[in-house]
């Protein structure tokens, strides 16, 4: 399910990138450039137009598409979601609507301390909300439409890849430490 959703998101990102590069393209031109079935393309365009990620401009025979510029709040979120693990956490919560802490740890296959660190960062930046249900913490996305928009608009750069690898390298020793320690309780991690 996740893989499918992530692939869908990737497809939307490709469509968004083409529209951004060539503003004013209509659906037939987009189909020729992207080589995506027309029905699927129409579905993604409607999805993005509904969420105000792109703008539709209806002319006589065609509907032309344009991207919408990111506002300062979008840019702030984008700077945080440039970190791969942050994007993965947000995508998991976005796809499953709400996610428990252990569910995130299982899906990310990362040490609990690393997951806690990233979640704390997302909570501090108002991207994720935490609700306590019984003994467990449940995470939801604060503004789904805005986050979807930012994730689609995001384009990876060489610098992003370098920073990601740098962060992973220095976090690796957390994994080694984790193996020697007893797994802490969930309450301790959050």
């Amino acid at each position: 399910m996740f893989k499918e959703e992530i692939l869908e998101n990737d497809r939307r990102r490709k469509i968004y990138a083409v529209i951004k590069k060539n503003p004013g393209l209509h659906i037939r031109e987009l189909q020729r450039v992207l080589d995506i079935p027309l029905a699927s393309l129409q579905y993604h365009l409607n999805y993005m137009a509904r969420r105000s990620i792109i703008i539709e401009e209806k002319a006589e025979h065609y509907t032309r598409y344009y991207t919408k510029a990111l506002d300062p709040e979008d840019k702030k979120i984008l700077s945080i979601l440039r970190q791969k693990t942050m994007r993965e956490i947000v995508l998991i919560i976005l796809v499953s609507k709400k996610a428990k802490y252990h569910f995130l740890v299982e899906n990310l296959k990362l040490p609990t301390s690393t997951v806690s660190f990233y979640i704390k960062n997302l909570l501090e930046n108002d991207i994720v909300l935490r609700t306590k249900i019984g003994y467990e913490n449940v995470y939801t996305i604060k503004n789904e439409d805005r986050i979807s928009k930012v994730l689609i608009a995001y384009q990876s750069s060489l610098l992003d890849i370098l920073v990601d690898r740098w962060a992973n390298t220095w976090l690796e020793n957390r994994i080694v430490n984790e193996k020697t320690k007893e797994e802490p309780k969930e309450e301790d991690n959050d």
């Binding site: 945080i80 970190q83 660190f117 960062n121 920073v163 740098w166 962060a167 220095w170």
Partner: protein, 101 residues
């Protein structure tokens, strides 16, 4: 024209390896420092702050080396001991950052 007794202060000429070595050093330290700084700005953790400070000191060291070659005001001719001390402080930050949980 300089009057008698006055001497013209000019930059000393260094061997070519000094120019090449210091240029390569500043390029590498700048790249590492930028990556470390960006990682810190994204993660805002104490661990990444310590690492960024360590690599930042290497960058400052590289900068001083370059300025020493081309700017008279910076031509203090640091002793080898001073250079080693600066590197030792930088490495200490990196060590603490690496070992910090």
């Amino acid at each position: 024209m300089l009057s008698q007794g006055e001497s013209q202060v000019s930059l000393p000429v260094y061997p070519p390896i000094a120019y090449v070595g210091r240029t390569v050093f500043i390029i590498v330290t700048t790249i590492i420092f930028i990556i470390a700084l960006l990682a810190y700005l994204r993660l805002r953790s104490r661990k990444s702050l310590l690492l960024t400070t360590g690599f930042g000191l290497f960058f400052v060291h590289g900068m001083l080396g370059i300025l020493e070659l081309f700017v008279l005001a910076f031509n203090h001719d640091f002793t080898e001991g001073m250079h080693l001390l600066l590197d030792a402080v930088a490495l200490t930050f990196i060590l603490i950052g690496t070992l910090k949980d």
